[in-house]
Symmetry: C2
Subunit: 153 residues, 2 copies
């Protein structure tokens, strides 16, 4: 749900754009409007404001409100717990991102090494393989003794 199209929409509505007034946001989040004001006072959510001071909630804000609703109504957590969970989820996300970056980096290094190895193998083949069917002898030895190689053994 990156964007939502309306019949007459011309301006793109992004998830972080404040578009819902408090009554709408409260309905979407299934909460009392006063509860939203309380959450803001506690620092749990920070909606945008119109020039007149009216709160404007974004889709992200509504999603966050629903997450809070889940934690308080379904799990029975209080707001201090919700704050702490948000912090921990942030940490978790950072660690997961770092891990994904590490995985990509590992793959990159692996591919790079593989390419190097392959290059070396090709190089070796180019020098050695063409002579495989027979035996190789130093040219200088052939020249020096002037005898058929087969008998020289």
């Amino acid at each position: 749900m990156a964007t939502r199209r309306r019949r007459t929409a011309r301006v793109e509505v992004t998830d972080d754009r404040g578009v819902f007034m408090i009554s709408v946001a409260a309905e979407l989040a299934e909460m009392h409007p006063q509860t939203l004001r309380m959450y803001e006072a506690r620092g749990l959510i920070t909606p945008k404001r119109s020039p007149k001071g009216t709160r404007l909630y974004s889709q992200e804000d509504v999603d966050r409100l629903r997450r809070i609703q889940e934690m308080t109504a379904e799990l029975g957590m209080n707001l201090a717990g919700v704050e702490r969970v948000f912090e921990l989820e942030g940490e978790l996300e950072r660690v997961v991102r770092r891990m994904q970056a590490l995985e990509r980096e590992a793959e990159r290094v692996r591919a790079e090494m593989e390419a190097k190895l392959e290059g070396l193998r090709r190089e070796a083949r180019a020098e050695i393989v063409p002579y495989r069917p027979g035996r190789l002898v130093p040219a200088k030895d052939v020249k020096r003794f002037q005898i058929p190689i087969e008998r020289a053994r």
Copy 2:
């Protein structure tokens, strides 16, 4: 604080061994004994029991109790929040461990590839370098034409 030595201690006291009765554990955790029983009823902590049914708390249990104390008294969280935080911390720890394993694995692969590369380089050197001063020719050619190599060009 892996183990603690007492003057007359003979048996090792590990962190997960139930050694404190409820009054001692409560004092160490700075909680009311009844609170410990409540936490157990909620599933937040599970002390061992003596054969007679007396609760026996380990050092790990006491550490956990202090962590709960921190979350409830200092952060003002309720027990549902504490449970959720424990879950999330478990997830976080698993992810961190996975990352450490991944880092070790990446290093292992890197070293292995490095060794392979080095092996190939050495191999290439062993086959090619000794002959560098002269030219190599197929033995069959030498036999077939029976002529000095130098003139065969």
